[in-house]
Symmetry: C2
Subunit: 297 residues, 2 copies
Amino acid sequence: MSAQSIGKLVIIGVGLIGGSFALALRRAGLVKHVTGVGRGRENLEAAKNLGIVDDWTNDAAEAVRDADLVLLAVPMGAYENVLGAIDASLPSGAIVTDAGSTKQHALSMAKKFLSDPQYFVPAHPLAGTERSGADAAFAELFDEKQCIITPDKATDAAAVARVKALWEAAGATVLAMPAAEHDDFLAAVSHLPHLAAFALVNAVRKEAERNREPDPFRFAAGGFRDFTRIASSSPEMWRDIALANREAMIVKLDALQQELAHVRRMLDAGDGESLLNEFADAKASRDAWLEKHGGAK
Amino acid sequence: MSAQSIGKLVIIGVGLIGGSFALALRRAGLVKHVTGVGRGRENLEAAKNLGIVDDWTNDAAEAVRDADLVLLAVPMGAYENVLGAIDASLPSGAIVTDAGSTKQHALSMAKKFLSDPQYFVPAHPLAGTERSGADAAFAELFDEKQCIITPDKATDAAAVARVKALWEAAGATVLAMPAAEHDDFLAAVSHLPHLAAFALVNAVRKEAERNREPDPFRFAAGGFRDFTRIASSSPEMWRDIALANREAMIVKLDALQQELAHVRRMLDAGDGESLLNEFADAKASRDAWLEKHGGAK
Protein backbone atom coordinates (compact mmCIF):
# COMPACT_ATOMS: atom_id res chain seq x y z
CA MET A 1 0.00 0.00 0.00
CA SER A 2 1.15 3.55 -0.50
CA ALA A 3 1.83 5.45 2.67
CA GLN A 4 -0.84 7.54 4.31
CA SER A 5 0.19 11.06 5.23
CA ILE A 6 0.82 11.87 8.91
CA GLY A 7 -0.69 14.98 10.47
CA LYS A 8 1.65 15.09 13.45
CA LEU A 9 4.76 12.99 13.83
CA VAL A 10 6.50 12.94 17.20
CA ILE A 11 10.15 11.86 17.22
CA ILE A 12 11.31 10.91 20.69
CA GLY A 13 15.10 11.00 20.47
CA VAL A 14 16.17 13.24 17.60
CA GLY A 15 19.48 11.59 16.78
CA LEU A 16 20.85 9.91 13.66
CA ILE A 17 17.93 7.47 13.31
CA GLY A 18 15.08 9.64 14.58
CA GLY A 19 16.25 12.68 12.66
CA SER A 20 16.78 10.72 9.46
CA PHE A 21 13.30 9.17 9.69
CA ALA A 22 11.78 12.65 9.92
CA LEU A 23 13.87 13.90 6.99
CA ALA A 24 13.04 10.85 4.88
CA LEU A 25 9.29 11.27 5.46
CA ARG A 26 9.56 14.98 4.69
CA ARG A 27 11.35 14.06 1.47
CA ALA A 28 8.42 11.74 0.65
CA GLY A 29 5.98 14.58 1.39
CA LEU A 30 4.25 12.44 3.98
CA VAL A 31 4.36 14.55 7.11
CA LYS A 32 2.74 17.87 7.97
CA HIS A 33 4.24 18.64 11.37
CA VAL A 34 7.16 17.12 13.26
CA THR A 35 7.71 17.62 16.98
CA GLY A 36 11.00 16.57 18.48
CA VAL A 37 11.35 15.34 22.06
CA GLY A 38 14.59 15.01 23.94
CA ARG A 39 16.58 16.19 26.91
CA GLY A 40 19.39 18.23 25.37
CA ARG A 41 18.43 21.75 24.37
CA GLU A 42 21.42 22.12 22.05
CA ASN A 43 20.65 19.01 19.99
CA LEU A 44 16.96 19.91 19.70
CA GLU A 45 17.75 23.46 18.62
CA ALA A 46 20.13 22.02 16.02
CA ALA A 47 17.34 19.72 14.80
CA LYS A 48 15.05 22.70 14.43
CA ASN A 49 17.68 24.76 12.59
CA LEU A 50 18.36 21.83 10.26
CA GLY A 51 14.65 21.59 9.39
CA ILE A 52 14.31 18.15 10.96
CA VAL A 53 11.62 19.21 13.45
CA ASP A 54 9.16 22.10 13.39
CA ASP A 55 9.23 22.47 17.16
CA TRP A 56 10.51 20.63 20.18
CA THR A 57 9.87 20.04 23.85
CA ASN A 58 11.39 18.17 26.79
CA ASP A 59 7.94 16.90 27.73
CA ALA A 60 7.15 13.65 25.93
CA ALA A 61 3.68 13.33 27.48
CA GLU A 62 2.70 16.78 26.27
CA ALA A 63 4.17 16.22 22.79
CA VAL A 64 2.18 13.05 22.04
CA ARG A 65 -1.20 14.45 23.14
CA ASP A 66 -2.28 15.11 19.51
CA ALA A 67 0.16 12.76 17.74
CA ASP A 68 -0.80 10.52 14.85
CA LEU A 69 2.44 8.60 14.92
CA VAL A 70 5.24 8.41 17.47
CA LEU A 71 8.73 7.13 16.70
CA LEU A 72 10.73 5.98 19.69
CA ALA A 73 14.38 6.44 18.76
CA VAL A 74 16.01 6.39 22.18
CA PRO A 75 18.41 3.81 23.68
CA MET A 76 16.70 0.56 24.71
CA GLY A 77 17.39 1.40 28.34
CA ALA A 78 15.08 4.44 28.14
CA TYR A 79 12.01 2.60 26.78
CA GLU A 80 10.59 1.97 30.22
CA ASN A 81 10.65 5.64 31.21
CA VAL A 82 9.47 6.99 27.89
CA LEU A 83 6.62 4.53 27.37
CA GLY A 84 5.54 5.04 30.98
CA ALA A 85 5.57 8.80 30.48
CA ILE A 86 3.52 8.90 27.26
CA ASP A 87 0.90 6.20 27.85
CA ALA A 88 -1.69 8.33 29.61
CA SER A 89 -1.63 11.09 26.99
CA LEU A 90 -1.44 8.99 23.78
CA PRO A 91 -4.61 9.59 21.74
CA SER A 92 -6.75 6.54 21.10
CA GLY A 93 -5.47 4.68 18.02
CA ALA A 94 -2.20 6.63 17.76
CA ILE A 95 0.52 4.37 16.44
CA VAL A 96 3.87 3.96 18.16
CA THR A 97 6.86 2.47 16.36
CA ASP A 98 10.50 2.27 17.36
CA ALA A 99 13.94 1.70 15.89
CA GLY A 100 15.62 -0.30 18.63
CA SER A 101 18.09 -3.08 17.96
CA THR A 102 16.40 -5.78 20.05
CA LYS A 103 12.75 -6.51 19.45
CA GLN A 104 11.63 -8.94 22.16
CA HIS A 105 12.62 -6.32 24.71
CA ALA A 106 10.75 -3.59 22.80
CA LEU A 107 7.58 -5.72 22.62
CA SER A 108 7.72 -6.63 26.28
CA MET A 109 8.21 -3.00 27.31
CA ALA A 110 5.23 -1.97 25.16
CA LYS A 111 3.06 -4.65 26.73
CA LYS A 112 4.10 -3.58 30.18
CA PHE A 113 3.79 0.19 29.83
CA LEU A 114 1.17 0.88 27.15
CA SER A 115 -2.57 0.55 27.72
CA ASP A 116 -3.08 -0.25 24.02
CA PRO A 117 0.03 -2.24 23.05
CA GLN A 118 -1.72 -3.45 19.89
CA TYR A 119 -0.81 -0.11 18.30
CA PHE A 120 2.90 -0.57 19.00
CA VAL A 121 4.66 -1.84 15.85
CA PRO A 122 8.28 -2.80 16.62
CA ALA A 123 10.71 -1.92 13.85
CA HIS A 124 14.46 -2.09 13.34
CA PRO A 125 16.01 -0.31 10.37
CA LEU A 126 19.36 -1.97 9.57
CA ALA A 127 21.11 1.32 9.03
CA GLY A 128 23.41 3.53 10.96
CA THR A 129 26.85 4.97 11.16
CA GLU A 130 29.04 5.36 14.22
CA ARG A 131 28.06 9.05 14.25
CA SER A 132 25.20 10.28 16.40
CA GLY A 133 23.11 13.36 17.09
CA ALA A 134 20.70 15.41 14.98
CA ASP A 135 23.47 16.87 12.86
CA ALA A 136 24.42 13.37 11.69
CA ALA A 137 20.90 12.78 10.30
CA PHE A 138 20.22 12.70 6.54
CA ALA A 139 17.17 11.85 4.44
CA GLU A 140 18.90 9.06 2.49
CA LEU A 141 20.01 6.97 5.49
CA PHE A 142 17.41 4.24 4.93
CA ASP A 143 17.57 4.12 1.14
CA GLU A 144 18.10 0.54 -0.06
CA LYS A 145 18.47 -0.62 3.55
CA GLN A 146 16.39 -3.32 5.20
CA CYS A 147 13.90 -2.59 7.96
CA ILE A 148 12.66 -5.55 9.98
CA ILE A 149 9.30 -5.26 11.69
CA THR A 150 8.27 -7.74 14.38
CA PRO A 151 4.56 -7.42 15.13
CA ASP A 152 2.98 -10.35 16.97
CA LYS A 153 -0.50 -11.86 16.74
CA ALA A 154 -1.94 -9.16 18.98
CA THR A 155 -0.65 -6.25 16.88
CA ASP A 156 -3.31 -4.29 14.99
CA ALA A 157 -3.12 -5.22 11.29
CA ALA A 158 -3.89 -1.70 10.02
CA ALA A 159 -1.15 -0.25 12.25
CA VAL A 160 1.32 -2.82 10.88
CA ALA A 161 0.39 -1.93 7.29
CA ARG A 162 0.77 1.78 7.99
CA VAL A 163 4.17 1.46 9.67
CA LYS A 164 5.38 -0.83 6.89
CA ALA A 165 4.32 1.71 4.26
CA LEU A 166 6.08 4.54 6.13
CA TRP A 167 9.41 2.72 6.41
CA GLU A 168 9.10 1.89 2.72
CA ALA A 169 8.40 5.55 1.96
CA ALA A 170 11.52 6.36 4.00
CA GLY A 171 13.49 4.27 1.51
CA ALA A 172 13.75 0.85 3.21
CA THR A 173 12.75 -2.64 2.16
CA VAL A 174 10.52 -3.95 4.93
CA LEU A 175 10.49 -7.55 6.12
CA ALA A 176 8.34 -8.99 8.92
CA MET A 177 9.46 -11.79 11.23
CA PRO A 178 8.96 -12.93 14.83
CA ALA A 179 10.84 -10.81 17.36
CA ALA A 180 12.78 -13.79 18.72
CA GLU A 181 14.01 -14.67 15.25
CA HIS A 182 15.12 -11.08 14.67
CA ASP A 183 17.01 -11.02 17.94
CA ASP A 184 18.74 -14.28 17.17
CA PHE A 185 19.87 -13.17 13.71
CA LEU A 186 21.02 -9.80 14.87
CA ALA A 187 22.93 -11.30 17.79
CA ALA A 188 25.03 -13.17 15.21
CA VAL A 189 25.62 -10.59 12.51
CA SER A 190 25.55 -7.34 14.47
CA HIS A 191 25.75 -7.70 18.24
CA LEU A 192 28.51 -10.31 18.24
CA PRO A 193 30.83 -8.31 15.93
CA HIS A 194 30.38 -5.32 18.23
CA LEU A 195 31.23 -7.34 21.34
CA ALA A 196 34.23 -8.87 19.57
CA ALA A 197 35.49 -5.48 18.38
CA PHE A 198 35.21 -3.99 21.87
CA ALA A 199 36.95 -7.04 23.34
CA LEU A 200 39.75 -6.98 20.80
CA VAL A 201 40.49 -3.31 21.37
CA ASN A 202 40.55 -3.96 25.11
CA ALA A 203 42.98 -6.85 24.68
CA VAL A 204 45.35 -4.56 22.75
CA ARG A 205 44.77 -1.72 25.22
CA LYS A 206 45.75 -3.91 28.16
CA GLU A 207 48.91 -4.91 26.33
CA ALA A 208 49.65 -1.24 25.68
CA GLU A 209 49.19 -0.51 29.39
CA ARG A 210 51.58 -3.27 30.40
CA ASN A 211 54.26 -2.42 27.89
CA ARG A 212 54.08 1.21 26.96
CA GLU A 213 56.98 1.82 24.56
CA PRO A 214 56.52 1.64 21.66
CA ASP A 215 52.73 1.78 21.79
CA PRO A 216 51.41 -1.31 19.93
CA PHE A 217 48.55 0.79 18.58
CA ARG A 218 51.19 2.61 16.57
CA PHE A 219 51.45 -0.37 14.25
CA ALA A 220 47.76 -0.84 13.72
CA ALA A 221 46.88 -0.30 10.07
CA GLY A 222 43.90 -0.45 7.71
CA GLY A 223 42.75 -3.92 8.78
CA PHE A 224 42.62 -2.82 12.40
CA ARG A 225 40.84 0.40 11.49
CA ASP A 226 38.01 -1.35 9.67
CA PHE A 227 37.80 -4.26 12.09
CA THR A 228 37.44 -1.93 15.06
CA ARG A 229 35.36 0.84 13.51
CA ILE A 230 32.32 -0.41 15.42
CA ALA A 231 34.29 -0.22 18.69
CA SER A 232 33.87 3.55 18.34
CA SER A 233 30.08 3.11 18.70
CA SER A 234 28.14 4.46 21.67
CA PRO A 235 28.95 2.46 24.83
CA GLU A 236 25.56 3.36 26.36
CA MET A 237 23.67 2.09 23.34
CA TRP A 238 25.62 -1.15 23.30
CA ARG A 239 25.24 -1.70 27.03
CA ASP A 240 21.47 -1.47 26.52
CA ILE A 241 21.50 -3.82 23.54
CA ALA A 242 23.71 -6.28 25.38
CA LEU A 243 21.38 -6.32 28.37
CA ALA A 244 18.23 -6.52 26.25
CA ASN A 245 19.47 -9.41 24.09
CA ARG A 246 21.86 -11.09 26.45
CA GLU A 247 20.54 -14.63 26.13
CA ALA A 248 21.01 -14.75 22.36
CA MET A 249 24.33 -12.96 22.64
CA ILE A 250 25.70 -15.48 25.11
CA VAL A 251 24.87 -18.26 22.64
CA LYS A 252 26.69 -16.44 19.81
CA LEU A 253 29.62 -15.56 22.05
CA ASP A 254 29.98 -19.23 22.93
CA ALA A 255 29.96 -20.10 19.22
CA LEU A 256 32.70 -17.53 18.54
CA GLN A 257 34.76 -18.79 21.47
CA GLN A 258 34.45 -22.32 20.14
CA GLU A 259 35.72 -21.17 16.75
CA LEU A 260 38.63 -19.36 18.36
CA ALA A 261 39.45 -22.40 20.48
CA HIS A 262 39.36 -24.48 17.29
CA VAL A 263 41.83 -22.06 15.62
CA ARG A 264 44.04 -22.18 18.72
CA ARG A 265 44.22 -25.97 18.55
CA MET A 266 45.21 -25.79 14.88
CA LEU A 267 47.89 -23.19 15.67
CA ASP A 268 49.17 -25.23 18.56
CA ALA A 269 49.43 -28.29 16.36
CA GLY A 270 50.99 -26.31 13.50
CA ASP A 271 48.26 -27.77 11.29
CA GLY A 272 48.56 -25.66 8.14
CA GLU A 273 46.08 -27.66 6.11
CA SER A 274 43.26 -27.20 8.63
CA LEU A 275 44.10 -23.49 9.04
CA LEU A 276 43.95 -23.08 5.27
CA ASN A 277 40.54 -24.80 5.14
CA GLU A 278 39.26 -22.69 8.01
CA PHE A 279 40.36 -19.42 6.40
CA ALA A 280 39.21 -20.49 2.93
CA ASP A 281 35.72 -21.38 4.22
CA ALA A 282 35.45 -17.99 5.90
CA LYS A 283 36.62 -16.16 2.80
CA ALA A 284 34.17 -18.06 0.60
CA SER A 285 31.26 -17.24 2.93
CA ARG A 286 32.24 -13.61 3.24
CA ASP A 287 32.78 -13.18 -0.49
CA ALA A 288 29.43 -14.85 -1.19
CA TRP A 289 27.75 -12.53 1.32
CA LEU A 290 29.35 -9.49 -0.27
CA GLU A 291 28.23 -10.65 -3.71
CA LYS A 292 24.67 -11.41 -2.63
CA HIS A 293 23.87 -8.85 0.04
CA GLY A 294 26.83 -6.52 0.47
CA GLY A 295 25.95 -4.31 -2.45
CA ALA A 296 22.57 -3.45 -0.98
CA LYS A 297 24.32 -2.24 2.22
CA MET B 1 70.66 9.20 3.58
CA SER B 2 69.17 9.64 0.13
CA ALA B 3 68.60 6.45 -1.78
CA GLN B 4 71.21 5.06 -4.12
CA SER B 5 69.96 4.08 -7.57
CA ILE B 6 69.57 0.37 -8.37
CA GLY B 7 70.92 -1.03 -11.61
CA LYS B 8 68.84 -4.19 -11.59
CA LEU B 9 65.97 -4.84 -9.23
CA VAL B 10 64.52 -8.34 -9.11
CA ILE B 11 61.00 -8.68 -7.73
CA ILE B 12 60.19 -12.24 -6.76
CA GLY B 13 56.40 -12.33 -6.53
CA VAL B 14 54.94 -9.53 -8.63
CA GLY B 15 51.70 -9.01 -6.69
CA LEU B 16 50.23 -6.04 -4.85
CA ILE B 17 53.30 -5.48 -2.66
CA GLY B 18 56.06 -6.48 -5.08
CA GLY B 19 54.48 -4.63 -7.98
CA SER B 20 53.86 -1.49 -5.92
CA PHE B 21 57.47 -1.48 -4.67
CA ALA B 22 58.72 -1.53 -8.27
CA LEU B 23 56.30 1.22 -9.29
CA ALA B 24 57.20 3.36 -6.27
CA LEU B 25 60.94 3.10 -7.03
CA ARG B 26 60.30 3.89 -10.68
CA ARG B 27 58.33 6.94 -9.57
CA ALA B 28 61.36 7.96 -7.48
CA GLY B 29 63.62 7.45 -10.51
CA LEU B 30 65.73 5.00 -8.57
CA VAL B 31 65.71 1.89 -10.72
CA LYS B 32 67.09 1.21 -14.19
CA HIS B 33 65.81 -2.29 -14.87
CA VAL B 34 63.20 -4.44 -13.16
CA THR B 35 62.91 -8.17 -13.67
CA GLY B 36 59.83 -9.96 -12.37
CA VAL B 37 59.90 -13.55 -11.18
CA GLY B 38 56.85 -15.70 -10.62
CA ARG B 39 55.03 -18.80 -11.68
CA GLY B 40 51.94 -17.49 -13.46
CA ARG B 41 52.52 -16.35 -17.04
CA GLU B 42 49.33 -14.29 -17.12
CA ASN B 43 50.20 -12.22 -14.04
CA LEU B 44 53.77 -11.62 -15.25
CA GLU B 45 52.58 -10.56 -18.70
CA ALA B 46 50.13 -8.18 -17.03
CA ALA B 47 53.00 -6.77 -14.94
CA LYS B 48 55.00 -6.17 -18.09
CA ASN B 49 52.08 -4.54 -19.88
CA LEU B 50 51.45 -2.31 -16.87
CA GLY B 51 55.08 -1.14 -16.91
CA ILE B 52 55.84 -2.71 -13.55
CA VAL B 53 58.61 -4.96 -14.90
CA ASP B 54 60.82 -4.68 -17.97
CA ASP B 55 61.02 -8.43 -18.40
CA TRP B 56 60.15 -11.56 -16.51
CA THR B 57 61.13 -15.17 -16.03
CA ASN B 58 60.02 -18.23 -14.09
CA ASP B 59 63.62 -18.91 -13.13
CA ALA B 60 64.52 -17.08 -9.92
CA ALA B 61 68.14 -18.35 -9.92
CA GLU B 62 68.73 -17.02 -13.42
CA ALA B 63 67.03 -13.68 -12.66
CA VAL B 64 69.20 -12.81 -9.66
CA ARG B 65 72.53 -13.62 -11.38
CA ASP B 66 73.23 -9.91 -12.03
CA ALA B 67 70.86 -8.38 -9.46
CA ASP B 68 71.76 -5.43 -7.26
CA LEU B 69 68.72 -5.79 -5.07
CA VAL B 70 66.15 -8.55 -4.70
CA LEU B 71 62.75 -8.10 -3.12
CA LEU B 72 61.09 -11.25 -1.88
CA ALA B 73 57.35 -10.62 -2.03
CA VAL B 74 56.02 -14.16 -1.90
CA PRO B 75 53.97 -15.88 0.83
CA MET B 76 56.01 -16.79 3.92
CA GLY B 77 55.56 -20.48 3.08
CA ALA B 78 57.58 -20.05 -0.13
CA TYR B 79 60.68 -18.46 1.48
CA GLU B 80 62.43 -21.77 1.93
CA ASN B 81 62.14 -22.74 -1.73
CA VAL B 82 62.94 -19.31 -3.12
CA LEU B 83 65.94 -18.59 -0.91
CA GLY B 84 67.24 -22.08 -1.54
CA ALA B 85 66.87 -21.55 -5.29
CA ILE B 86 68.63 -18.17 -5.49
CA ASP B 87 71.50 -18.56 -3.04
CA ALA B 88 74.05 -20.08 -5.40
CA SER B 89 73.55 -17.45 -8.11
CA LEU B 90 73.25 -14.29 -5.96
CA PRO B 91 76.19 -11.98 -6.78
CA SER B 92 78.51 -11.20 -3.90
CA GLY B 93 77.15 -8.27 -1.90
CA ALA B 94 73.71 -8.25 -3.56
CA ILE B 95 71.09 -7.18 -1.06
CA VAL B 96 67.94 -9.17 -0.40
CA THR B 97 64.96 -7.65 1.36
CA ASP B 98 61.44 -8.94 1.84
CA ALA B 99 57.95 -7.77 2.70
CA GLY B 100 56.67 -10.66 4.79
CA SER B 101 54.40 -10.23 7.78
CA THR B 102 56.48 -12.19 10.29
CA LYS B 103 60.11 -11.31 10.74
CA GLN B 104 61.64 -13.95 13.02
CA HIS B 105 60.65 -16.53 10.45
CA ALA B 106 62.13 -14.44 7.61
CA LEU B 107 65.44 -14.03 9.46
CA SER B 108 65.68 -17.70 10.33
CA MET B 109 64.97 -18.74 6.73
CA ALA B 110 67.67 -16.33 5.49
CA LYS B 111 70.18 -17.74 7.96
CA LYS B 112 69.32 -21.26 6.94
CA PHE B 113 69.30 -20.84 3.16
CA LEU B 114 71.61 -17.94 2.30
CA SER B 115 75.40 -18.21 2.32
CA ASP B 116 75.66 -14.48 3.11
CA PRO B 117 72.69 -13.80 5.38
CA GLN B 118 74.27 -10.51 6.50
CA TYR B 119 72.95 -8.98 3.25
CA PHE B 120 69.37 -9.98 4.02
CA VAL B 121 67.46 -7.00 5.48
CA PRO B 122 64.01 -8.08 6.72
CA ALA B 123 61.29 -5.51 6.09
CA HIS B 124 57.55 -5.32 6.57
CA PRO B 125 55.62 -2.46 4.99
CA LEU B 126 52.37 -1.95 6.92
CA ALA B 127 50.32 -1.53 3.80
CA GLY B 128 47.99 -3.64 1.75
CA THR B 129 44.48 -4.10 0.59
CA GLU B 130 42.52 -7.33 0.32
CA ARG B 131 43.18 -7.23 -3.43
CA SER B 132 46.09 -9.13 -4.92
CA GLY B 133 47.99 -9.60 -8.17
CA ALA B 134 50.04 -7.26 -10.36
CA ASP B 135 46.99 -5.37 -11.56
CA ALA B 136 46.24 -4.33 -7.97
CA ALA B 137 49.68 -2.65 -7.66
CA PHE B 138 50.06 1.13 -7.56
CA ALA B 139 52.99 3.48 -6.94
CA GLU B 140 51.33 5.24 -3.98
CA LEU B 141 50.65 2.14 -1.87
CA PHE B 142 53.42 2.88 0.65
CA ASP B 143 52.95 6.65 0.85
CA GLU B 144 52.62 7.75 4.47
CA LYS B 145 52.67 4.12 5.60
CA GLN B 146 55.07 2.62 8.10
CA CYS B 147 57.69 0.08 7.12
CA ILE B 148 59.34 -1.86 9.92
CA ILE B 149 62.82 -3.28 9.33
CA THR B 150 64.25 -5.88 11.67
CA PRO B 151 67.97 -6.33 11.05
CA ASP B 152 69.93 -8.07 13.80
CA LYS B 153 73.49 -7.58 15.02
CA ALA B 154 74.88 -9.65 12.17
CA THR B 155 73.18 -7.64 9.42
CA ASP B 156 75.51 -5.52 7.28
CA ALA B 157 75.09 -1.86 8.28
CA ALA B 158 75.45 -0.50 4.75
CA ALA B 159 72.80 -2.92 3.48
CA VAL B 160 70.46 -1.79 6.27
CA ALA B 161 71.01 1.86 5.36
CA ARG B 162 70.37 1.20 1.71
CA VAL B 163 67.17 -0.77 2.27
CA LYS B 164 65.94 1.87 4.70
CA ALA B 165 66.54 4.60 2.13
CA LEU B 166 64.74 2.62 -0.58
CA TRP B 167 61.60 2.05 1.50
CA GLU B 168 61.67 5.74 2.35
CA ALA B 169 62.00 6.59 -1.33
CA ALA B 170 59.02 4.31 -1.92
CA GLY B 171 57.02 6.60 0.37
CA ALA B 172 57.17 4.86 3.75
CA THR B 173 58.39 5.95 7.17
CA VAL B 174 60.94 3.37 8.25
CA LEU B 175 61.35 2.15 11.81
CA ALA B 176 63.83 -0.48 13.03
CA MET B 177 63.15 -2.89 15.88
CA PRO B 178 64.04 -6.45 16.90
CA ALA B 179 62.18 -9.11 14.90
CA ALA B 180 60.62 -10.64 18.01
CA GLU B 181 59.19 -7.30 19.04
CA HIS B 182 57.76 -6.77 15.56
CA ASP B 183 56.14 -10.19 15.59
CA ASP B 184 54.63 -9.59 19.00
CA PHE B 185 53.13 -6.23 18.03
CA LEU B 186 51.79 -7.45 14.74
CA ALA B 187 50.26 -10.52 16.36
CA ALA B 188 48.13 -8.14 18.44
CA VAL B 189 47.10 -5.48 15.94
CA SER B 190 47.07 -7.40 12.67
CA HIS B 191 47.22 -11.16 13.00
CA LEU B 192 44.69 -11.41 15.82
CA PRO B 193 42.04 -9.28 14.03
CA HIS B 194 42.42 -11.51 10.98
CA LEU B 195 41.98 -14.69 13.03
CA ALA B 196 38.98 -13.18 14.81
CA ALA B 197 37.37 -12.06 11.55
CA PHE B 198 37.81 -15.51 9.99
CA ALA B 199 36.44 -17.14 13.16
CA LEU B 200 33.45 -14.83 13.35
CA VAL B 201 32.47 -15.44 9.75
CA ASN B 202 32.76 -19.17 10.35
CA ALA B 203 30.55 -18.96 13.44
CA VAL B 204 27.85 -17.22 11.37
CA ARG B 205 28.39 -19.62 8.45
CA LYS B 206 27.83 -22.64 10.68
CA GLU B 207 24.64 -21.07 11.96
CA ALA B 208 23.54 -20.47 8.37
CA GLU B 209 24.24 -24.11 7.55
CA ARG B 210 22.17 -25.34 10.49
CA ASN B 211 19.24 -23.04 9.88
CA ARG B 212 19.00 -22.10 6.27
CA GLU B 213 15.88 -19.92 5.96
CA PRO B 214 16.14 -17.00 6.13
CA ASP B 215 19.89 -16.83 5.67
CA PRO B 216 21.33 -14.88 8.65
CA PHE B 217 23.89 -13.27 6.35
CA ARG B 218 20.93 -11.48 4.79
CA PHE B 219 20.74 -9.19 7.81
CA ALA B 220 24.41 -8.39 7.97
CA ALA B 221 24.94 -4.67 7.42
CA GLY B 222 27.72 -2.09 7.37
CA GLY B 223 29.22 -3.10 10.72
CA PHE B 224 29.55 -6.68 9.55
CA ARG B 225 31.00 -5.60 6.21
CA ASP B 226 33.81 -3.58 7.77
CA PHE B 227 34.46 -5.99 10.61
CA THR B 228 34.85 -8.91 8.22
CA ARG B 229 36.59 -7.17 5.31
CA ILE B 230 39.85 -8.83 6.29
CA ALA B 231 38.15 -12.25 6.20
CA SER B 232 38.24 -11.83 2.43
CA SER B 233 42.07 -11.89 2.54
CA SER B 234 44.12 -14.67 1.01
CA PRO B 235 43.74 -17.92 3.00
CA GLU B 236 47.14 -19.15 1.83
CA MET B 237 48.89 -15.99 2.97
CA TRP B 238 47.21 -16.15 6.37
CA ARG B 239 47.95 -19.83 6.82
CA ASP B 240 51.62 -19.02 6.28
CA ILE B 241 51.55 -16.07 8.68
CA ALA B 242 49.71 -18.11 11.30
CA LEU B 243 52.27 -20.89 11.09
CA ALA B 244 55.23 -18.51 11.08
CA ASN B 245 54.07 -16.51 14.09
CA ARG B 246 52.02 -19.07 15.93
CA GLU B 247 53.60 -18.66 19.34
CA ALA B 248 52.83 -14.94 19.56
CA MET B 249 49.40 -15.48 18.03
CA ILE B 250 48.46 -18.07 20.63
CA VAL B 251 49.30 -15.56 23.38
CA LYS B 252 47.12 -12.87 21.76
CA LEU B 253 44.33 -15.33 21.08
CA ASP B 254 44.34 -16.27 24.75
CA ALA B 255 44.14 -12.58 25.69
CA LEU B 256 41.15 -12.12 23.38
CA GLN B 257 39.48 -15.25 24.79
CA GLN B 258 39.95 -13.84 28.29
CA GLU B 259 38.30 -10.58 27.24
CA LEU B 260 35.41 -12.44 25.65
CA ALA B 261 35.00 -14.62 28.74
CA HIS B 262 34.98 -11.44 30.82
CA VAL B 263 32.21 -9.98 28.62
CA ARG B 264 30.29 -13.23 28.86
CA ARG B 265 30.39 -13.11 32.66
CA MET B 266 29.08 -9.54 32.61
CA LEU B 267 26.28 -10.53 30.22
CA ASP B 268 25.41 -13.53 32.31
CA ALA B 269 25.22 -11.38 35.44
CA GLY B 270 23.27 -8.65 33.62
CA ASP B 271 25.94 -6.23 34.89
CA GLY B 272 25.19 -3.12 32.86
CA GLU B 273 27.65 -0.90 34.69
CA SER B 274 30.61 -3.17 33.96
CA LEU B 275 29.53 -3.62 30.34
CA LEU B 276 29.34 0.15 29.97
CA ASN B 277 32.85 0.55 31.40
CA GLU B 278 34.20 -2.19 29.15
CA PHE B 279 32.70 -0.64 26.02
CA ALA B 280 33.65 2.90 27.03
CA ASP B 281 37.29 1.89 27.63
CA ALA B 282 37.43 0.27 24.20
CA LYS B 283 35.86 3.28 22.52
CA ALA B 284 38.27 5.65 24.25
CA SER B 285 41.29 3.57 23.15
CA ARG B 286 40.05 3.21 19.61
CA ASP B 287 39.16 6.89 19.27
CA ALA B 288 42.58 7.85 20.69
CA TRP B 289 44.26 5.51 18.20
CA LEU B 290 42.30 6.99 15.32
CA GLU B 291 43.21 10.49 16.44
CA LYS B 292 46.90 9.71 16.89
CA HIS B 293 47.70 7.13 14.22
CA GLY B 294 44.59 6.48 12.12
CA GLY B 295 45.08 9.48 9.88
CA ALA B 296 48.43 8.15 8.71
CA LYS B 297 46.71 4.93 7.53
